[in-house]
């Protein structure tokens, strides 16, 4: 679905964000895009959506070059930005103006999502809270039936019940034809949702692996003491939360926050496992 070959991009000539980055993303997956502030998560998403132009290399999204902003590709992309704007109209007017651009738009599904999110349909979009607006835009994006769903910090501004609703809806929205990419800082919000982790660091991809692959190669557990076999550990109330190679094929649950910190701190140790 997406092929990135030697992507080079930077807002400043002397400070590139991506240097020869290459990656392939397939449909039927929910990718979690993680990285420190300024690592380029949002920028990578914008490159995929054609909102910024690559300075080198090629990008292929469903057979199109996103930089050309062709309608055939745009109608297959649902892009939920972190900061968004909704006009001063009611949901009905917004639908009337925007939904016809997407020939597969599912009005019934949109209404179901709006009901599930408990959105007041008679209220003007501009008067809704940030969280409500976000739910509207998520509902609209998913109802477009776009094959590529790109979400930048989608759970920001959602209350606790809405985050659970969001996870449920996203899990049900996943189909074999769809590719979902979610960028977030709040890794716990994506627990049990994403199936592949992509981590950006130092102008490139520090890790790209499925959850299955990670838990096959690494084990996450609480330990009392640190020894040489542990790649990375963080102190906790009853000892340490540690990441170590999974030599004995133990089953453990991926702790995304721990993995994130571990990769950033001990990148070299992890590299041979995921090269």
């Amino acid at each position: 679905m997406i092929n990135i070959n030697n992507l080079n991009f930077g807002y400043n000539k002397h400070k590139p964000l991506f240097k020869n980055m290459s990656m392939r993303l397939s449909n039927g997956h929910i990718y979690g895009l993680l990285g420190k502030n300024g690592a380029g998560k949002s920028t990578l998403l914008k490159n995929l959506a054609g909102l910024v132009y690559a300075q080198g290399g090629t990008l292929d999204v469903m057979g199109y070059d996103p930089a050309k902003r062709q309608p055939a590709l745009l109608e297959q992309i649902c892009f939920i930005p972190e900061e968004f704007y909704l006009p001063s109209v009611k949901i009905g007017t917004y639908l009337k103006a925007n939904a016809p651009f997407y020939k597969n738009f599912d009005y019934g599904y949109f209404n179901d999502l709006i009901k599930e999110f408990d959105i007041p349909v008679e209220q003007k979009l501009i008067n809704m809270s940030y969280g409500q607006k976000k739910k509207v835009i998520i509902a609209f994006g998913l109802a477009t039936q776009a094959k590529l769903v790109i979400m930048d910090e989608p759970t920001n501004g959602l209350d606790i019940p809405s985050k659970a609703q969001f996870r449920k809806i996203m899990a049900s929205a996943m189909t074999d034809e769809r590719c979902i990419i979610i960028s977030t800082h709040q890794v716990r919000d994506l627990d049990n949702l994403i199936d592949t982790v992509i981590m950006l660091d130092e102008n490139d991809i520090a890790l790209k692996a499925t959850v299955e692959e990670i838990t096959e190669k690494l084990t996450f557990k609480k330990v009392k003491e640190i020894d040489d076999s542990i790649f990375y550990a963080e102190p906790s109330l009853s000892g340490y939360n540690a990441v170590m190679p999974n030599y004995h094929q133990e089953e453990s649950k991926l702790d995304m926050e721990l993995l994130f910190n571990a990769i950033l701190a001990e990148k070299i140790k992890f590299k041979p496992l995921f090269s």
Partner: protein, 270 residues
Amino acid sequence: MNNTFNINRFGLLLKRQWLEFGKIYLMSLVVLTGIIIAFYFFNIPDLNRSLYRWDDHGHVQLGFRLPTFMAIGFLFLTIVASTYFNAFGQKPKAIMELMTPASVTEKFICAILFSTILSLISYLLIFYIVDAIFLNYFNELWQHNKATNYNTGKLTAVSFSTLFDDLTSEREFKFFFALPFFFSSIFLLGSIYFNRFHYIKTALSVTALFSFIIFLTIKFGNLMTEGKTRVYAVDYLEKDFVFKIFFWSSVALSLIIWLITYVRLKEKEV
């Protein structure tokens, strides 16, 4: 699927723009009508006047109308054009605009239609209607008045000239017909070029550029003519030629500026 231009998609885009901006646009037309009416109210001619300004067709001219028509028209057209792409100056709005599944060509033609064609037609129509209503009223008030037409020296019934008379009374006027498109194109470019304060920044840039061009022209003219004697005067045919050059230059410049706007829209990054 045609990714450059599709009439259905273009229709959807027009509808989308209208649903979002139509209300504001109609409100601006109401304000415009109010301003034009106010100008007419404050300039109702004095009924007891004996001296009038007559045109070549035996009508009395309304002296305030042409400057009012041009000044308000300039402001209206340039304000509408300079606000059209202002959404592109704000990241959240720009993302929504750029991600709308329509081609750059469709978005650009839509911009020209709304910012230039529609606003020009609505302005002409509103001015014409307000003018016609007031003329009707003035002609009724003056229907029994007669005054000496200084052009013919005869006592003539007072009837007022129309906006169309004003626009066609000077034979050179037709050479200025491309100017609304020219000014509109400049401010449309400004609306996508600048992220904030589009109108002020465009106006300042245009003033600076025009001042520089005028300065260069005067300097060049001085350089060419200083210490020389005139031996030949420009005749009417050459004057027409100069006006034609002016007309076609304004047409060409409008097209070039629209082309630059298209490229800016195409290359816009958020």
